[in-house]
């Protein structure tokens, strides 16, 4: 049936905004035009002030490990509105913004936290939809 094909197309389209390759915060800070190429062929720019803000949050040693954009993974498996942040450096940065304790390489956050993160980091974070 046609509907299934449309649905599959919609699901495939959900993550086209994600970058082909993520760059580290260090690379972004050193670049004159901090940006990444996305899967749909367009370009996503990072705002300089956000990069400086992130640089102030993570220790210098972690700047090479923090990958941009930081992915906010939305997985229906966790329940409606729950999201996951992965990566040690990423978790450190996000925990500091939310005023939480960073625990390992994974952090589970909820809708109000997502709103705070997106308000503070609109260009350096991206949503990732996990099909499960």
């Amino acid at each position: 049936m046609n509907v299934d094909r449309i649905l599959k197309f919609e699901l495939n389209k959900l993550n086209v905004h994600l970058p082909k390759r993520r760059i580290s915060l260090k690379e972004a800070l050193e670049s004159t035009r901090p940006q990444v190429a996305t899967r749909d062929g367009s370009v996503h720019r990072f705002k300089r002030e956000e990069l400086d803000f992130l640089a102030g949050l993570v220790p210098e040693i972690d700047r090479g490990r923090l990958q941009l954009p930081i992915l906010i993974a939305l997985d229906p498996k966790f329940g409606r509105g729950a999201a996951r942040i992965t990566g040690e450096a990423e978790v450190i940065a996000i925990s500091q913004i939310l005023g939480k304790k960073s625990t390992g390489g994974e952090l589970l956050i909820y809708r109000p936290d997502v709103a705070i993160i997106r308000r503070k980091l609109p260009t350096t974070t991206q949503y990732l939809f996990m099909p499960g």
Partner: protein, 213 residues
């Protein structure tokens, strides 16, 4: 109760296919609903920013027009107009894009919006310092208006996407999934019915065979 798909063959194969389709539709529905929730967060964020940017731009424009009135009073209207004709009007805006879940929203960056008196283009000899003050205020206002334009376009793009996503979520939730479930139920009932028919047929045959012996 949703209407079952009319032209469906009540077979086990069809039942399996339909169950797969329900699972895909459910998955799609959950993901699209997550997307819709995220879009709502983004939309309200942008609306809040628009409110702040609009009031800041209006305040700044009010200051700028007041400064212009002072300038016209001090220098005279004709001289002020003449100076405005001489001023450089080019403004370099860098338009790039950022993505919010696949929606391309513009990012406008203005380089060197605030100019010094020499680079504005009008003669310093024939103008007063109040014109510099008015120009400064208008340059500030222009920066705020550029920011406001970026936010308004973002809000429009998000609203369009939100509308489409909501329509898809509703179509899945209220039409497709209930219809598929109703069809599954129909096939299950039909298969059960066929099994019962078969059972009673076999019993009847057995009874007939026993009677013949």
């Amino acid at each position: 109760m949703a209407e079952a798909v009319s032209a469906v063959t009540p077979t086990r194969m069809e039942l399996l296919k339909l169950r797969q389709r329900v699972s895909l539709a459910q998955k799609g529905h959950d993901l699209l609903r997550e997307k819709m929730d995220a879009l709502v967060i983004e939309f309200f964020e942008v609306l809040k920013k628009i409110g702040d940017a609009k009031s800041a731009a209006l305040n700044q424009l009010s200051l700028a027009y007041r400064a212009l009135s002072v300038c016209s009073a001090v220098m005279g209207t004709i001289e002020t107009r003449q100076a405005s004709r001489e001023a450089k009007r080019e403004l370099e805006i860098e338009i790039s894009t950022r993505h919010i879940m696949g929606i391309v929203v513009p990012t406008l960056e203005v380089e060197e919006l605030k100019r010094n008196a020499l680079s504005r283009g009008y003669s310093l000899h024939t103008t007063s310092s109040v014109l510099d003050d008015a120009s400064k205020e208008f340059e500030k206002a222009l920066g705020l208006l550029v920011k406001l334009a970026e936010l308004e376009e973002s809000a429009n793009a998000i609203a369009r996407e939100l509308e489409g996503t909501k329509r898809r979520v509703n179509a899945l939730e209220y039409i497709l999934i209930p219809r598929l479930k109703a069809t599954i139920k129909f096939i299950e009932m039909r298969l059960d019915e066929m099994e019962r028919e078969n059972f009673s047929r076999l019993k009847r045959i057995k009874a007939m065979l026993e009677a013949r012996e």
